[in-house]
């Protein structure tokens, strides 16, 4: 099991408050993504927990791409992975952000 936190600076902050959202299921080749509002407001903090060790560089690339697509600060994203491929991780992150933004608290 490998656990790490990556923090990316983000120019824009969340415009309004949203309730936490969970996307995906922890099953083989899949992952769950929990998106919450969090501090600091000018960064996106992503915490990953994965049973596949030794892929930290690939995670960093996938997460950097995601933050470039969706440069939003004030986010806390937590991932429970069960061996998802990079493409699945990207899609799931986008889906989680879409559902997170769609609901206002």
């Amino acid at each position: 099991m490998e656990q790490f936190v990556m923090t990316f600076p983000a120019a824009c902050r969340l415009a309004e408050a949203h309730p936490p959202r969970l996307c995906g299921v922890v099953s083989s080749g899949n992952l769950e993504v929990l998106v919450e509002s969090g501090d600091p407001g000018d960064a996106c903090r992503i915490e990953v927990s994965t049973p596949a060790t030794g892929f930290r560089d690939i995670w960093a690339a996938v997460l950097r791409d995601f933050v470039e697509r969706q440069p939003v600060g004030g986010l806390r994203i937590t991932i429970n992975d069960a061996g998802a491929t990079p493409a699945v991780v990207s899609l799931r992150l986008d889906q989680a952000m879409d559902t997170f933004r769609s609901e206002k608290s």
Binding site: V25, N30, P51, T78, N80
Partner: protein
Amino acid sequence: MSVKKTSFFEASARTRIARLVDPGSFSEFCPPQLRHTSPHLARLHAPVAFDDGVAVGCARLAGHPVLIAAQEGRFNGGAVGEVHGAKLAGLLDKAVSERPAAVLLLVDSGGVRLHEANAGLIAISELMRAVLRTQAAGIPVFALIGGSCGAFGGMGIVARLCAEVVMSEQGRMGLSGPEVIETVMGVEEFDSRDRALVWRVTGGKVRRALGEATRLVEDDVAAFRAVTADLLAEYGARPLKPSSLDTLFDAHARLTARTRRFSAARDGREIFAASGFSDIDGVPLMAVDAFNRHLMETA
């Protein structure tokens, strides 16, 4: 205009809840952001889930207040660990004090989570006691079974303790699962890869024919919702009576009659034959409405 069907079998636990209850009425207890994850899985370096594979909360269904739980079959086969079981047992305890119209258990589980050994076994036994205690307090518990893991092991027992068992043909119910029987008794006894055999022994239709499932519905969340709404109305009009010596005698009489009717049957096909179906090979493909109508007419 055709209404889009949501397959109960394919849907996730959270989607099942969202489509089953009145729109927007679900409010979750112990939500994922509280991170009540399994300490046992973490110690084994196995992936954990923020909800430990079960979502619990309160909602309304056709206006009736209900407490509801849905197991996520895709996380460790919906297996019951310590946290998972505590969430379910806690929900049932809450029912005794809050007195909802019913507790709905959307079962999708192979039973005890073997990683958690004794803690999982204890969780299941607490869950059984909780179902009985809730129903003794006059609150009916309904098991809704239509997921890929069915209801096996301890969750098979929990389901059978419930006042009502609503199943789709896709859902399965039993004690030992097909793979377990094959491992212990050999492939000559039970070939778990023979899907037709698995379904005609554990599937919704044979369970309904035996009377173990009380309702059979299509694999559609809307169908589960419609039948659950009917049941809520029925129990609203005629509340669950506490068990007594008479209800025990009634149950024994029913079991005796069932044993007499099906004692010669060794397979689902023979159960269907004893239930008066003429085209035995056609039963698995029979429409749910026609199947239910036949059972009603021959009852």
